[in-house]
Symmetry: C2
Subunit: 567 residues, 2 copies
């Protein structure tokens, strides 16, 4: 700290000077001792400079209210909710999350370092602390066709950036345990920082080998037994509760029932949509739910504050104590985590203020570059009449692989009510690659749906019951340079434009929500099952690390077999 | 980690290769989950590479035995036990302490950076991990006459030394809270590392200001209430149990009775003599005593392992888990902490092997440089007949200040049975400074005792009932270039030579112990109270930060008044 600042701050601490702001008579949650102690919090320049008995130029009466540290989301992606980064951060900060540890790997897959810089720049002046983990797996796999490749060398320039905490979720565990030099160069680069994991249900030996590479966290853990396996190996478990993946109940129940120490457990959202945040909250929701499941409120709060602070090396975040940033949540009720107010750097976060949408640099618009593409590219032929089918399942993003016989001998597949076409068109480098497959279980009739959000490479993915509408949908997304679109009866029904890297809209989240709701309704009317989110489910159909079978620009990929399907 | 090493280690982890060594069927203390789980520990190149079910080229049967991580002494001085650093480390490592966090401030006060390098070099190949904190207060105060001054600039070269963890105990809290630029340059230099505190009973506002400077630990805490005050401010409390200062019972009782979370508490010895270590143990003694006071054994072990590891940023020490160094303690009994064996980097520490005494560089010998000194320098005169008296108290290193009238008007003080002379002779820079005072409560008759160990500046301190013997004692220490000596009846009774910086002997600790025991007996026979350790108590009489009054080369210093006494 600057010495002059220290001198001025400690004048307040030592009562030689009145504080700028004092929160009077608060029931303060002490995350170090688990005590709740009534006292005043003196704040100067956004820092807590004294706890005890203080007078201030400005005083906020906290009588009867609890004050705990601002919450920390220990792992999330900002892009997944379609709004610009600052919008999401602002909405979540109103629910008490004042620190976000962000992995910008969606942006990086489209625009590389420029995408990462976009996330950093957009959130620089947000009403929260936004940190970045450098995406470790861009592209996600060697068979991906994405926009950019990030190597250890590319990341070196970020080592001294104080907002970059380490290496983002290392999804490619095979490269890790097989000692792949490229992967280990990245791990080595961040050896003095945090290296986040992504390790769903590894075999015990692989998990131990993974940990030995220096990876210290995981947010993919979805049951208590596996959480304990990770904890035994010293990993910090980031308990996830987002829009789709909900792991909190299973893990917290186990912790409570087995009286497991909560040190080494944190909370995260991973992917939580803005409408869900508005409805039920953000990390405050995780805390509340943990308390409902029987966890002591102070323990639950520690998992949202001091434990992630320790895990990520924050020395001035995660506690209400002198020298800590004045990021505070004021609660009317400790058990219900009912939030009265949130302070970020000693200032109340306005709940109603209009959220600024920051301009996106031109280079991050117009990122949809499709090579030759026409109806012919959607033709699907088998010399034997047998075709692999991607069987979608309601409520899941996993799929089943089936082999179906559509005719005797050589055959050109034609869509019908049950079996439809799904295609991915490479959109970063105009390579002209288009992969086509057959899908069941989606149900769309007389139309097509397309999206430029398709994990993790974010090519254009399209699904439909006829080739003409599929082509129209793709052409629409080329025209809008990214988005979600629905074609019904050979006409564009509506398009949600996502011009920022083809991933985000800069039109404001209320506008988006309204439009999206309409489009989702239309999709269901067109036959898409009610248990399927037409766009989100579709966006996962190209991710070649989730079993059993996926569609990529290179064709249908058998994830379990680790090879492309032949006909 | 080197990729080739990782590849080889994980071959064992993944069972593609047999381990070098396996500890079979151990009851393993898991410091992450608080579980005790039976299993095998696979070890390769001194690292734990797998926990579970393993075969090894060599196997040690652990059936029925507990295995916990090697203990960490979170704060100690190696010099205080008079032996060379490696001897102390080796003896303590046999009692399970495999990591030492050392503040070499005694050496630094005599020989500056050369003294620190001596500690680093001597312990480099010890059977333990020895880390150093850079001494922050050399000299301890501005009125000290020591051998060297350490500034932030001097320390810069150690920033990249992996064995230097941060800044050592910041004793001068006044400089901290008053924003002294020299002190804050040191604090700032180590802002990304650990900054150890030394903060006995600060007023709450001062404690908070002290913490705000980034100081995060304290080992001077001696009661539970103060420990809680420090914990509330986020400090890690290093619970001290050494030869002289014993704070464990008071603090641990409070923790147990009030059910306080033990995270943020560690153990240390600060100063523990080798004969005490041999008799009762080292950090294992702290753990044992905590269990006897009602603490859960796993919690007590965590305070000696994973919590100091977290505090000091060790990622591969303090746990029995894959990727951790194989520093292990084998226990026959968990509640009694009865140690069967200790492993350091996967090798059993031999209990009986002779300990190597490493050669000391010549520049660290012959450090006693006294200017003019004769009997005349011990003359003590008052124009008024009033003299300040340093009243020593059995069992304490604190003193009381008294003003005594020895005559009417001008008077030359002469020693007697009750009131004796104490003097400190500057011995680093031949300045010729000698300070003389009167002491009561020591009790020596017909002789003198002198020491070149006198905190923190380590000048020659001498006490006696007649000037001739005092002069003889000082001359003896000039001759031996450091040591403890007793003069009886105008003859040298015996001298324990401490040629290494005047602080340590390189003659071997058994030889020292034998000689020291004899000398201590002799001192008691000569009248020194049984409750006084003649040398250790004497060595604190020159430390001008402990109340109420001290003797320095510049005269008698009133610590509470912050000024030298006039006559």
């Amino acid at each position: 700290m600057d010495l002059k600042v220290y001198r001025e701050h400690t004048k307040v601490t030592r009562r030689f000077k009145e504080a700028e702001l004092v929160l009077k008579n608060a029931k303060i949650i002490n995350v170090f001792t688990n005590e709740i102690i009534t006292g005043d919090i003196a704040i100067e320049d956004g820092m807590i400079v004294g706890i005890g008995n203080y007078e201030g130029k400005q005083e906020h009466d906290m009588t009867g209210k609890y004050v705990c540290p601002g919450f920390i989301d220990s792992h999330l992606h900002l892009e997944s909710t379609l709004v610009t980064p600052k919008e999401l951060v602002t909405v979540a900060s109103r629910h008490g999350t004042t620190t976000f540890i962000v992995d910008p790997h969606e942006s990086a897959n489209v625009s590389g370092l420029a995408g990462i810089n976009y996330i950093l720049d957009q959130t620089e002046d947000a009403s929260a602390n936004v940190f970045v983990m450098m995406p470790s797996c861009v592209p996600a796999t060697s068979i991906d066709d994405n926009g950019c490749t990030l190597t250890a060398e590319d990341m070196t320039q970020y080592l001294d950036n104080e907002r970059v905490l380490g290496l983002g979720e290392v999804m490619d565990y095979i490269s890790v345990v097989n000692a792949d030099p490229g992967m280990h160069r990245k791990l080595d680069l961040f050896k003095d920082k945090v290296r986040d994991g992504h390790a769903p249900f590894l075999a015990e030996e692989d998990l131990q080998a993974y940990v030995m590479a220096g990876i210290s966290t995981d947010h993919e853990c979805s049951d208590f037994q596996y959480a304990m396996r990770e904890r035994r190996n010293g990993m910090t478990v980031l308990i996830r509760e987002g829009s789709a993946a909900k792991n909190l109940e299973a893990i917290v129940k186990g912790i409570v029932e087995n009286n497991i120490p909560v040190e080494g457990f944190c909370f995260c959202t991973d992917d939580k949509h803005i409408e869900d945040i508005e409805r039920e909250g953000h990390i405050d929701y995780n805390v509340r739910k943990a308390i409902e499941l029987g966890m002591n409120p102070v323990s639950a709060i520690k998992m949202a504050t001091i434990y992630p602070a320790i895990c990520y090396g924050f020395h001035n975040l995660g506690a209400v104590a002198p020298g800590y940033q004045a990021d505070l949540v004021v609660l009317n009720d400790l058990n219900k985590i009912s939030i009265e107010n949130v302070y970020y750097k000693g200032e109340v976060i306005e709940q109603e203020e209009e959220i600024e949408i920051k301009k996106c640099p031109d280079e991050l618009k117009n990122t949809v570059h499709v090579g030759k593409f026409s109806k012919n590219d959607l033709q699907l032929e088998s010399p034997t009449g047998y075709f692999p089918v991607i069987e979608m399942q309601e409520g899941q993003i996993t799929t089943k692989k089936q082999i179906k016989k559509f005719s005797r001998g050589k055959c050109l597949f034609l869509s019908n009510a049950q079996y439809q076409k799904i295609a991915v068109i490479e959109r970063h480098k105009s390579t002209g690659k288009t992969g086509v497959g057959i899908v069941s279980g989606f149900g769309i009739q007389k139309g097509a749906i397309a999206s430029s959000v398709s994990h993790d490479s974010h090519n254009i993915i399209v699904i439909g019951d006829n080739d003409e509408d599929m082509v129209l949908a793709v052409q629409e997304l080329i025209r809008t340079q990214g988005g979600y679109t629905i074609v019904a009866d050979h006409k564009i029904f509506d398009t949600l434009e996502l011009p920022v890297m083809g991933l985000m809209s800069d039109a404001g989240y209320q506008y988006n929500n309204h439009k999206l709701k309409n489009m989702i309704n239309k999709a269901h009317e067109m036959g898409v099952g009610r248990g399927i989110d037409p766009f989100i489910t579709l966006s996962f159909m190209a991710l070649p690390v989730i079993p059993e079978v996926r569609i990529t620009p290179r064709g249908v990929y058998d994830v379990l077999g680790g090879e492309f399907c032949s006909y």
